[in-house]
C-alpha cells in the first residue's frame, strides 16, 4: 500500500494528476485497504471521457433567458463511427467529395474504429470558451 501511495504522490508531483484527483485516488486506496492495484485506480481509467457538452448561456446581468445545454454521451460518437463502415460506396464518395469541397484534408476512410479512441482522447484537451454578443459558448468533454 505504501508503494501505491508513493506512486500517487509522485504523479501529483510530476503534474500528471491534480490535487483533487490525488485525494480521490488516495481515498479509494484507503477504501480498498490497498488490495487493489494502482493501475485500476489510474486517473486515465478513473476519468474516462463520458460526455460531450455544448453550453450557450447569456452573460450574467444580461437579463436574457436564452440558453442551450446539450450533453451527448461519447458512446454515441463511437457507435456513429462504426456506422460509417456500413455506408454504401456512392454515399461515401459523396461525403468525401463534400469534405474536399470544404477544404478538409480527410476522407471517411481515415475515420476508423482503431483511431476513434485516439480521437476521443484528443477531445480531452479541447475546450472552446467564446464570449460574443452577450453570450458565452462553451464546448468541452468530461
Amino acid at each position: 500500500m505504501g508503494d501505491e501511495r508513493t506512486r500517487i504522490l509522485n504523479m501529483l508531483k510530476e503534474g500528471k494528476i491534480t490535487v483533487d484527483e490525488a485525494e480521490e485516488l488516495l481515498s479509494a486506496l484507503e477504501g480498498q485497504g490497498g488490495g487493489k492495484e494502482l493501475s485500476a485506480l489510474s486517473p486515465d481509467s478513473a476519468k474516462k471521457l463520458k460526455y460531450f457538452h455544448v453550453i450557450v448561456e447569456p452573460e450574467s446581468g444580461n437579463g436574457k433567458k436564452d440558453r442551450v445545454n446539450i450533453k451527448i454521451p461519447i458512446a454515441i460518437i463511437r457507435a456513429g463511427v462504426k456506422m460509417t463502415n456500413l455506408l454504401p460506396e456512392d454515399a461515401r464518395d459523396k461525403i468525401n467529395g463534400a469534405f474536399r469541397e470544404k477544404g478538409l484534408g480527410m476522407t471517411l476512410d481515415d475515420i476508423k474504429e482503431e483511431n476513434i479512441e485516439d480521437f476521443i482522447e484528443a477531445l480531452r484537451d479541447m475546450t472552446i470558451d467564446v464570449e460574443a454578443d452577450n453570450k458565452r459558448v462553451k464546448i468541452f468533454c468530461e
Binding site: 460526455y51 436574457k64 433567458k65 436564452d66 440558453r67 442551450v68 445545454n69 446539450i70 450533453k71 451527448i72 454521451p73 458512446a75 454515441i76 463511437r78 457507435a79 456513429g80 462504426k82 456506422m83 463502415n85 456500413l86
Partner: protein
C-alpha cells in the same frame, strides 16, 4: 452492465401555449422488444447461420448491432434549449 434508457422526457413549450410535457416509459418498449426477440429467435438464429454465406444478411446483423449500441448509448443524452418564451427539453434517463 449497459442499461438502455428507461424513460424519455420531452418538454416543448411554445409562446402563449402550455405546451407538452411527456414522460415516455421506454422500459415497456424494451419488454415488448424482448418478447418479440424471444418469439423470432429461431428465425434470427437461422438468418445468422445463413449470413455466413450471404454478405447482405451479415450487413443487416452488423447494422442491428450498431443500432443496439446507439440505443444503449442514448442513456443520459440531454438536449435543453430555453428561449425567452420557448422551451425544448429532451432527456433520456
Amino acid at each position: 452492465m449497459k442499461i438502455p434508457p428507461l424513460v424519455m422526457y420531452l418538454r416543448i413549450k411554445e409562446p402563449e401555449e402550455s405546451g407538452i410535457r411527456l414522460w415516455i416509459p421506454l422500459f415497456l418498449l424494451w419488454l415488448f422488444v424482448i418478447f418479440l426477440l424471444a418469439l423470432f429467435l429461431p428465425l434470427v438464429v437461422l438468418l445468422a447461420l445463413i449470413s455466413v454465406h450471404v454478405p447482405e444478411i451479415r450487413r443487416v446483423f452488423i447494422f442491428a448491432g450498431i443500432i443496439y449500441e446507439i440505443i444503449f448509448s442514448l442513456r443520459e443524452l440531454s438536449v435543453d434549449v430555453e428561449g425567452e418564451h420557448q422551451v425544448f427539453i429532451l432527456k433520456f434517463m
